[in-house]
């Protein structure tokens, strides 16, 4: 059988999916079966979408529902599919001075933190996580500003770095579960609340629109979407574990919609 040079496919994605190793795990069989080489760009959500809008990626995998819809609506992308979700948790100092332990709703927990003026470290980088957090403040009609509100800090950095700042400042922080699993042994902070449906974090996969950029490898991109949403792909996601914990939950068939 003749072997041709593998085709290059550029996937623009958020840091979290890449850094947890999920993509390396998923893409190995895909590359083999399709004789292609997937170039993963692991970027912040905003940057990941922007790079695709500039025509520099063939497909994106991100978690920022509103932005994803806008991306499709403006015609940059086609065929958005739900792939999986994980969720966020709130971490904080063991002493829990704001007393959020046991509270069921994330909105309520943040209100307690704000009322107690306990340090809270925000991603502050317009990432999916930051957007989620901002949605809670909006609901509470609070607009905290870094430094002006002495308890509120915008880190403007990635998840791990933000968590480290929270650790240093003994503050509360909104963390995705993958990062939590990964860092829980390296931080003094502990998990104080999770399980609220509001904290769900769904991922979508979108092919870049070949009408906008004729050079994109649309067919291959479609194949990848098919692969991620196939029964086999979904099972692979469910099977992916790190230190015995499942990181992502497939949801192509039954999207758990979050408000």
């Amino acid at each position: 059988q003749e072997k041709t040079e593998p085709v290059k496919l550029t996937l623009s994605t958020t840091t979290s999916t890449y850094e947890t190793g999920l993509l390396d795990y998923m893409l190995a069989p895909f590359e083999k079966e399709n004789n292609c080489k997937v170039h993963c760009l692991s970027l912040g959500t905003g940057k990941a979408i922007q790079v695709a809008k500039d025509g520099n990626a063939d497909i994106i995998l991100v978690h920022a529902r509103a932005d994803e819809d806008k991306f499709v609506a403006e015609g940059w992308g086609v065929n958005r599919q739900d792939v999986m979700y994980n969720d966020f948790v709130i971490m904080g100092p063991k002493e829990d001075p704001a007393k959020i332990k046991g509270v069921k709703s994330a909105t309520e927990a943040l209100k307690l933190i704000a009322d107690a003026k306990q340090p809270f470290v925000s991603r502050g980088d317009d990432s999916g996580t930051h957007k989620k957090e901002k949605a809670f403040w909006k609901k509470l009609a609070i607009t905290p500003v870094s430094a002006k509100d002495s308890w509120y800090m915008e880190a403007g950095q990635g998840m791990a770095a933000t968590l480290k700042i929270a650790d240093e400042k003994s503050g509360y922080v909104l963390v995705d579960r993958a990062t939590y699993n990964f860092q829980k042994d390296k931080t003094r902070l502990v998990l104080l609340m999770d399980g609220d449906d509001d904290l769900l974090n769904p991922y979508g996969i979108i092919a870049v629109n070949p009408e906008k950029f004729p050079h994109v490898k649309y067919d291959l991109a479609m194949k990848m979407i098919e692969f991620f949403t196939s029964e086999r792909g979904q099972k692979m996601i469910a099977d992916y574990k790190k230190d015995g914990a499942q990181l992502y939950f497939p949801n192509f068939k039954n999207p758990r919609v979050c408000k």
Binding site: K47, G156, I165
Partner: protein, 233 residues
Amino acid sequence: MDYILEGISEAFRLILSSDSEFWNIVWLSVKLSIISTLLASVIGVPAAFFLVIKKFRGREFLITVSNTLMSIPTVVVGLLFYSILSRRGPAGDLALLFTQTAVVIGQTFLILPVVVSLTVSTIRSLDKSVSETSVSLGANKTQQLLMFFSEARFGVAACLITAFSRVFAEVGVSMMLGGNIRNYTRTITTAIALETSKGEFGLSIALGIVLLAVAFTINFFFLKFTKLYRTVD
């Protein structure tokens, strides 16, 4: 190209604005960079003199180490001091992490090798007759060193400018040790990193242009003021 054009117009808007957050960021960048450059000079220049003047075993080795340390990535410097300043680290009780002081410490360390290596090369390329002549005319140690600098003024200028540039442009240390905390430790470069990660490329470029404009102004006045350009030639 869109981003560049967008960046240019945005840069003008920023510079003409009276947005206090923006100007605080600019001022913080300048302040931290100048302090770091000064500190690194105060430590690095005598060290360089020592390396050139004293003859001892391992001198060339130390110079090579200094040359090597010019290659240290900013993030690594950030991580090293993070490890030290972190609550769990040996200097954790000082609570310096994510403060401006931490940034200055890291930045000083970052450019120390630049100052040392360039000063060493500057002094080495000077003729021995400089110090011999000034001594023969009655110069004391300080006056002798001053004459070294006066004779090597183009080299010294280049050294200071290079060190300042390095620190003004760096992001890794400021990010790791300052934390890019809004209204507190956010500098132009960490702001650029943030905007870039948000995909706000135009704004990033605008901030880059602002940074260059500031650097140009500083260079210009530095050179004018210290008369480090050849007036006698």
